[in-house]
Structure formats: C-alpha cells, structure tokens
C-alpha cells in the first residue's frame, strides 16, 4: 500500500474500476464520455464547469485532469481562475444562505 492517500499515477488507472464491476463501470464511462460531447454546451464550456466542480469537490485527480484539459483547449489562466471563483462563490453562498435557517431558528426560539 502507498503511504499517502493520493498518487498522481492512480489517475491513469481510473479505467481499472471496471475490473471489479464491469457492467456498471462501462456504463459509467459511457455516460461520462457522452456528457462531455458537444451538445447545447460546447466541450470548452463543459471543461470549465468540470474544473470548477473539481475544486468544490476538492478532487486532486479531477483538478489535474481538467487543468490539463483546459490548457489543451486553449482556455486561459484567467478563465480557469474565474471558473474556480464561481465554484467558490456557490460554496460560500451555500454556507451563508443557511444563515437564514439559523436566523429563522433563533427568531423562533428567542422571546
């Protein structure tokens, strides 16, 4: 076993998850591939969404993958950082909007 939880080389072995559950694994990769095809959104737009979500999920494999994917698509550093800020804004917004729940509860309980 590795001494750390994450190993960059493991990203390349992602496909091996099908070995222990072939049908579900294959269905997942088929779905995954389909999601990133050109649709109402361009692959470029999808790449930026994936990058932002990679950060909110704090998945180091996804961050590696979609930083590289962005470069390959000619996405600039400024665009990547802005996408991450969108993710961060939603994350912090999601935290803060719960403040209303806290306020509701406090208002209900307080005399």
């Amino acid at each position: 076993m590795d001494k750390s939880y994450y190993n960059p080389r493991d990203l390349k072995k992602f496909g091996s998850i099908t070995e222990w559950s072939e049908e579900l694994g294959n269905k997942f990769f088929e779905y995954y591939g389909k999601v990133f095809e050109e649709g109402a959104l361009t692959p470029r737009e999808k790449s930026l969404i994936a990058l932002a979500v990679a950060h909110t999920e704090q998945c180091p494999y996804c961050i590696d993958a979609y930083s590289q994917d962005g470069l390959q698509r000619g996405i600039t550093k400024e665009e990547m950082m802005e996408a991450i800020h969108v993710g961060a804004a939603i994350k912090s917004g999601a935290t803060l909007v719960h403040g209303v729940q806290m306020m509701n509860k406090v208002n209900k309980l307080e005399m």
Partner: protein, 351 residues
C-alpha cells in the same frame, strides 16, 4: 530572461546523440513504456514504409530572428547554417523533375537566407501546385527590408503558413518571446491587406498552433473556431485553416520537458494517446526533408536529430524518388509525437 539556443548555451542537448540516448533510456529501456518500434509492431505497421513522395520540404537554414522556447530546430540569430545558392540550384533541379505536388520552405526564418527571394522566384517559375513558405510573421516587421514580403509572397502565389500559439498576448509571448504577439498581429493584418487569408481569396494563409507547454493540442476544428472568433473580434484578422501540431520531445522542447520535470508524464501522455490510424498517414510517409546542406531526411525532426534517410540516396545531388521510396523510415521514441490523438504533421492532424 531571453532564451538562447542550446548550441549557444553549450548544453549537452545540443548533441543529437545525447538526445537520442535520452529518448532510448529510462522508461523506455526499463520497459515501463513500449518503444515506438514495439508499439507499431503490435499493429503490424513495422517497419514504417513511405508511400508516394508528395511533399518536398526544404530547410533553407537555421538562422532565425526569434528564439522560441519550444523550437525543435534550436534556431536563433546565432545559428549560421544557411543553404548556399549552389545547394538551392540542386533543389531546383529536383523540383523540376519531382512528382511531389507541394514544395514547403522552412527554417529558421527562411526569409533570412540571402538567396531566399531568388530561390522563390526560380521555384515559382517551375510551377509547383502548392508552394508553401513557413513564415514566423515577426520577420515581416523585423526590418525595413522585409516590409514588402506580403507583396512578394502574393506576386509568386506563395501559400503562407505561420505560427501563432494563442490568440492572447500572454501565452504567445511566453512561448515565442516578448513583443512577438503584437508584431505577429501587425504582420497578419498586413497579409490580410494584400488579400491573404480572406474567405474567398486564393492567397492561402494558414496558422500553426502548437501548445505552449507540456500538454497535447486540443481538437483542431474546435481550436480553429476559437482562433477565428478571437482574431476577428479583437483584431479584424482572417485566415483559412489552423494546423494543430504536437510538440515533439527533441531539442529545446526536450530540454524544457526535462528541466520542468515533465518529461516522463509527457511521454506517458503521448504513448497513451497512440493512434494506429495516425501511423498510416504520418508525414514521413509522403515527405522528404532536405537540410540546408542538402542531406535528405524522413522529416524535419529526424533532420534535427541528424538521422539521415536509410537509403543509398542520401543527398539532394543524387536524388532519386524511386530509390528513396523503397527505404524504411528511421524511428525513435520522438515519433510518438506524430501519432498521438488525431496525429500531427506540418499539415496539421492526419487521422
């Protein structure tokens, strides 16, 4: 800090022998990754054989006004290797009798060869179907004596192919040097002004994109769309096609890969993206590359690794298409660069 050629720096990578050792050692020697020969054996494509010669690519010299960080030629102002008029005449004799439909002049900056204009005039008299000059764009703005190049190209119906790594200043200047973006934009506008690159124009203007780092090029069609949109909106520039070219791990790009500790990961990316259908159309199957001193190579990359054709005919002075077509292409691990993904050649993707 300005980049200098490996030769000027006296880097060990200025030795082609050293580059070939690096490409054969390490992960390829240990068997961690298959050698290119073993990989194409899996798909019964070994030995790699050429088809009909369609493109004669002539490198008229390694001198260049730019020193790009990824340059596979190790070109720069300090490189003095320049094709003589005598060798050019030998090339013209070959152009007259060749069955190739495309003549492709490259460098360095080909325009810096003092006999460049004479050579273009003579070659265009012979009448080649597609006459390409690979211009780095900034040369057009480098000195007054080059200002009329767009008109000169037009006069001889030259097909201009120019490098442009990105539609933004930052990425372009990082790869090609400070100020390159602005000069390139000005040069493109001047080419447009004489008719190059306009939608219905026969004056062909294509751009070459290669990644500014240790990653592979994205989809050529999508990149072309992005380039066209950005260059038109921001600068009113038009061009015909974009060729997405993969950086091959040789010369200054190999130096960069090693120094930035990206070499192994980059080779992994190339091997993982190996595409057998790209092997079938890789450019060494339809191109002969001629060096400034007249030697013949399977491609410009083999030229830079000093791997002359494996044929009895090795020099332009003894050029014989029939004999050349019977050779095996010389390969090493750098060849993975031309077979990754949609493939890569001086004419863009191949698969």
């Amino acid at each position: 800090m300005a980049v200098k050629s490996l030769k000027k720096r006296e880097s060990e990578l200025a030795s082609t022998q050293r580059q070939l050792e690096i490409l054969s050692n390490g992960i390829f020697q240990s068997g961690e990754l298959p050698t290119f020969a073993n990989k194409i054996k899996e798909t019964n494509q070994f030995p790699l054989k050429p088809k009909k010669i369609e493109i004669l690519q002539i490198n008229v010299g390694y001198m260049c006004n730019q020193v790009c960080s990824h340059c596979h030629v190790d070109a720069g102002p300090d490189r003095k290797e320049i094709m003589t008029r005598e060798t050019m005449q030998q090339c013209l004799d070959v152009i007259e009798k060749t069955g190739a439909h495309t003549l492709d002049l490259t460098g360095g900056a080909p325009e810096m060869n003092p006999n460049f204009r004479w050579f273009v005039e003579e070659a265009s008299k012979i009448g080649v179907k597609d006459f390409i000059v690979r211009s780095n764009l900034t040369i057009i703005r480098a000195n007054k004596k080059y200002y009329d190049l767009p008109e000169f190209f037009k006069k001889h119906n030259v097909h201009v192919v120019s490098s442009m790594p990105h539609w933004t200043r930052g990425k372009t200047d990082k790869q090609r040097g400070d100020g390159v973006f602005d000069k390139s934009i000005k040069a493109l506008q001047e080419l447009n002004a004489v008719g190059y690159g306009m939608p219905d124009s026969d004056l062909r203007l294509d751009l070459v994109y290669n990644p500014s780092g240790a990653f592979l090029p994205g989809d050529q069609t999508a990149m072309e769309k992005d380039f066209k949109k950005a260059l038109l909106e921001d600068f009113g520039i038009q061009f015909h096609n974009l060729f997405a070219i993969t950086n091959l791990p040789i010369s200054r790009f190999l130096d960069y890969l090693i120094a930035s500790e990206n070499y192994e990961d980059y080779m992994y990316s190339l091997v993982e993206a190996f595409n057998p259908s790209a092997v079938a159309n890789v450019m060494c199957t339809n191109t002969i590359s001629v060096s400034w001193d007249g030697w013949l190579y399977d491609c410009d990359f083999n030229q830079m690794l000093d791997l002359k054709v494996a044929s009895n005919v090795k020099h332009i002075s003894e050029y014989n298409e029939e004999i050349l077509q019977n050779r095996n292409v010389i390969i090493s691990q750098h060849c993975y660069g031309c077979t990754a993904g949609a493939g890569s050649s001086c004419q863009g993707t191949v698969a």
